[in-house]
């Protein structure tokens, strides 16, 4: 039987002049670790659902990637994390948005899928569900990284110079 696996760590407008060889090496190592962890699960006969959950959780724990620890900040300097998981065989799906305490939002999304009749929980309800389920929760400082904080300051400066509403999607 065939198995296959892929991961991504985000897309963006990184130009040649902005590249940092040391950072690139670390990014490659993070991607390789997630790829190998997920593929190992599949190779040993594990489920696609376990493979994607494990790999995404690893990337959430890596501060270089914009998810979990290392997430971007909102305009008011907080994190509002989002995640989803879907099982193609059963069409079961779970998602969370506006999460502020779960160390691994993807695991919270999976619990939404497996333990509730809902597809998505958001904000205070999602945080409360993380506690109820006994998932690992973290204080705000866990999610702070200097690089993301500086990105927020640059975005605020850009917005101050730009048209109203620009950059908020």
């Amino acid at each position: 039987m065939t198995i296959a696996f892929a991961v991504h760590g985000g897309a963006g407008p990184v130009q040649n002049a902005e590249r940092d060889p040391e950072r690139d090496t670390a990014l490659r190592a993070g991607l390789a670790a997630a790829l190998d962890a997920g593929y190992r699960i599949l190779h040993e006969g594990g489920s696609a659902l376990d493979a994607v959950t494990t790999a995404v959780a690893l990337l959430e724990d890596d501060p270089l990637f914009n998810a979990g620890r290392g997430a971007d900040f909102t305009l008011d300097g907080r994190v509002e994390l989002e995640a989803a998981v879907m099982d193609g065989h059963s069409r079961a799906a779970g998602a969370v948005t506006g999460v502020s305490i779960a160390r691994n939002p993807v695991r919270l999304a999976r619990r939404v899928m497996e333990a509730t009749p809902c597809v998505m929980l958001g904000f205070a309800a999602a945080d409360a569900f993380a506690r109820t389920e006994g998932l690992e929760c973290e204080p705000p400082q866990y999610f702070f990284t200097e690089a993301r904080w500086q990105a927020l300051q640059r975005e605020k400066a850009r917005l101050a110079d730009g048209p109203a509403g620009a950059g908020h999607g």
Binding site: M1, T2, I3, A4, F5, A6, V7, H8, G9, G10, A11, G12, P13, V14, R19, L27, L31, A32, L35, L42, G45, A48, L49, A51, V52, T53, V56, L59, E60, N66, A67, D72, T74, L75, E80, L81, A83, A84, V85, M86, D87, G88, H89, R91, A95, T97, G98, V106, A109, V119, G122, R148, A151, L152, E155, K156, L159, G167, H168, G169
Partner: protein, 135 residues
């Protein structure tokens, strides 16, 4: 944003996506990652995880559109993913990319931005890891 897609030995497909959103996003803003059919999708034909400017991925229902092209138009995974990422998305003004795997173990990883951090091992065992367009 980070994500993963998988095909297991029993032929089951799955997708997962997680994100912190965008720097300086409005409090309460919801992107495409948690929206089933926009940033994340899996069915019996393919699994998709997206990354990019979320509002455009929502408007284009990117992940489900790729799956629908397999189901209704008979496109291959590569054709479907390329059509959406290089056709539908830029026509709306959106940038980013997707990773996708189909039930035969084929993997597609198209993007229309300068880079997309990505890695895969497809059904033939071919391994690839790259960060930028010219990698």
């Amino acid at each position: 944003t980070v994500g993963a897609v998988a095909l297991d030995v029993q032929g089951r497909l799955a997708a997962a996506t997680s994100t912190g959103g965008r720097a300086g996003k409005w409090p309460g803003r919801i992107g495409d990652s948690p929206l089933i059919g926009a940033g994340t999708w899996a069915d019996e034909r393919c699994a998709v995880s997206a990354t990019g400017h979320g509002e455009y991925f929502i408007r284009a229902a990117v992940a489900h559109d790729i799956a629908a092209r397999l189901a209704y138009a008979g496109q291959t995974l590569a054709e479907a993913a390329d059509s959406v990422v290089h056709g539908t998305l830029p026509a709306l003004g959106g940038s980013g990319g997707v990773i996708a795997v189909d039930a035969d173990g084929r993997v597609a990883m198209p993007f229309n931005s300068a880079g997309m951090y990505r890695a895969m091992i497809d059904g033939t065992g071919r391994r690839e890891l790259a960060l930028y367009r010219d990698d």
